[in-house]
């Protein structure tokens, strides 16, 4: 079974919410962050992630693990914030007690008060002077390891049928349900990359060959495909595939 975030191909969603100007032209220039709290939620999530207590795959999995009702009701940055809150408590960066106290505080005082900032920053904290350097490095997922890929370019493959996380029931995976058990062609090989199915559960990076696989629209959607010749490409790790 999948989770709600795995929504590729789902029916029922309406028109894309495209912002338009008064003359009905598409607005390509809406602000980076619509509200100040969006910017803050985003930046706090990045800064808290830099403390090194979790990786990108873990934070993705926490968002996916929000209860379905919350996942559907929350806007984008509300999901980020809820997952961050759960992470902060789980990783012992804040206690539930401290969290409840600060919630009481803001509910009493509202938005207009200054936080009583700590005089000393935690030694793990991300310093402003390091921001550009760290962003420039990023966090590459490719690993130089000597593994030969099993599959060759243009080879026919079939994706596994069931949720492939072997360690954790309902665990993280990057194989969407809409391509499970479908036939595709290896389009390219991209080297070995950190395997999210392990990394999201703090079971090590376990880098594995990553391929781009081409699926025909007709293979995925049958007679309802818009055009049989259209293709959908996904980046899939070797364990998601078989011959």
């Amino acid at each position: 079974m999948s989770r709600l975030h795995d929504m590729g191909g789902r029916f029922g969603d309406g028109p894309i919410p495209i912002p338009r100007r008064r003359n009905n032209e598409i607005d390509n220039h809406e602000p980076t962050f619509k509200y100040d709290w969006h910017a803050k939620a985003w930046a706090i999530t990045l800064a808290a992630g830099a403390l090194g207590e979790w990786n990108l795959d873990i934070s993705r999995h926490y968002r996916e693990c929000l209860p379905p009702k919350d996942y559907m009701n929350y806007s984008y940055y509300e999901k980020w914030l809820a997952a961050l809150t759960n992470l902060l408590v789980d990783k012992n960066l804040v206690s539930l007690e401290e969290l409840k106290n600060v919630i009481d505080l803001v509910e009493k005082k509202g938005l207009n008060f200054e936080a009583n900032k700590s005089e000393k920053l935690d030694k793990r904290a991300w310093l402003a002077r390091d921001v550009q350097k760290t962003l420039g490095w990023g966090g590459p997922s490719i690993r130089e390891i000597n593994v030969s890929p099993i599959y060759k370019i243009n080879e026919k493959v079939v994706t596994v049928k069931y949720s492939p996380n072997e360690d954790v029931n309902g665990g993280h995976t990057r194989l969407p349900s809409y391509v499970m058990g479908r036939e595709g062609i290896i389009y390219s090989y991209n080297g070995s990359h950190v395997f999210p199915d392990k990394n999201a559960h703090a079971k090590g990076e376990n880098p594995l060959p990553l391929y781009t696989v081409e699926f025909k629209a007709s293979e995925l959607w049958g007679v309802s495909a818009e055009d049989d010749n259209d293709s959908i490409y996904l980046d899939l790790w070797e364990p998601y595939l078989k011959k």
Binding site: P67, Y76, I103, A115, Q132, Y178, H193, L220, D230, W237
Partner: protein
């Protein structure tokens, strides 16, 4: 019936937080304020770092970067070749690199192929060249429909793809990040690289738009 707090979390592994997020205030602004206050009090985050991050993506990193990559590829055949062979290295030539663009792939639109990029599982997007994704890119509607009915989705953006043109949809399921190289508009032979970059819209580099025509 179970109460809100008792609802089944559907985790097979046990988390300690017991839905810590369910204690948060209903107003999202207050939620952010609470987390920010707590992390500042504990010295876990620095407010200058938050300001620097927000300023960077509001003012320095955005689709203007990707537009320069595209314009350069339009005027310089050898750059275009490098870009299609090793996009990460070619984009680094213009000093764009790093977070959420560590492994770049550029896909080229041609008279026979139209490319469009989506992330059905979350909101993967090439930050160094396009910045933070727009709201519609992160919407359920775009995430669910683009892989199943790309032509209909594109038509909502005003892009009507000829039935003879193949549509390629790229679902960013790993850490490769995709940038579409749109076709250079006709009648732009007289324009220089900077002028061409002005025509390259953000949506044209996602595949949900086309470059503007020369004025």
């Amino acid at each position: 019936m179970t109460s809100e707090k008792e609802h089944n979390h559907n985790h097979s592994h046990h988390h300690k937080h017991e839905d810590a997020h369910s204690h948060l205030p209903s107003d999202p602004e207050l939620r952010v304020k609470a987390i920010e206050t707590l992390l500042l009090e504990k010295g876990l985050i620095d407010s200058e770092t938050l300001d620097e991050l927000i300023d960077t993506y509001e003012n320095k990193i955005g689709p203007q970067n990707g537009a320069k990559v595209v314009a350069k590829a339009w005027v310089d055949e050898s750059y275009k070749k490098r870009l299609l062979e090793d996009a990460t290295a070619a984009i680094r030539e213009l000093s764009y690199q790093g977070r959420q663009g560590e492994n770049m792939v550029v896909v080229e639109n041609t008279p026979d192929i139209h490319n469009v990029v989506v992330c059905t599982l979350c909101s993967c997007y090439p930050w160094p060249v396009l910045g933070i994704p727009p709201t519609w890119y992160k919407s359920d509607e775009y995430r669910s429909r683009t892989v199943r009915e790309p032509r209909k989705v594109l038509s909502e953006f005003g892009v009507n793809v000829d039935p003879k043109v193949k549509v390629k949809v790229w679902d960013s399921t790993a850490e490769l990040r995709y940038l579409v190289l749109p076709m250079r508009p006709k009648g732009t032979e007289h324009l220089n690289e900077n002028e061409l970059a002005e025509l390259v819209t953000r949506n044209s580099m996602i595949g949900t738009g086309l470059p503007e025509n020369a004025k």
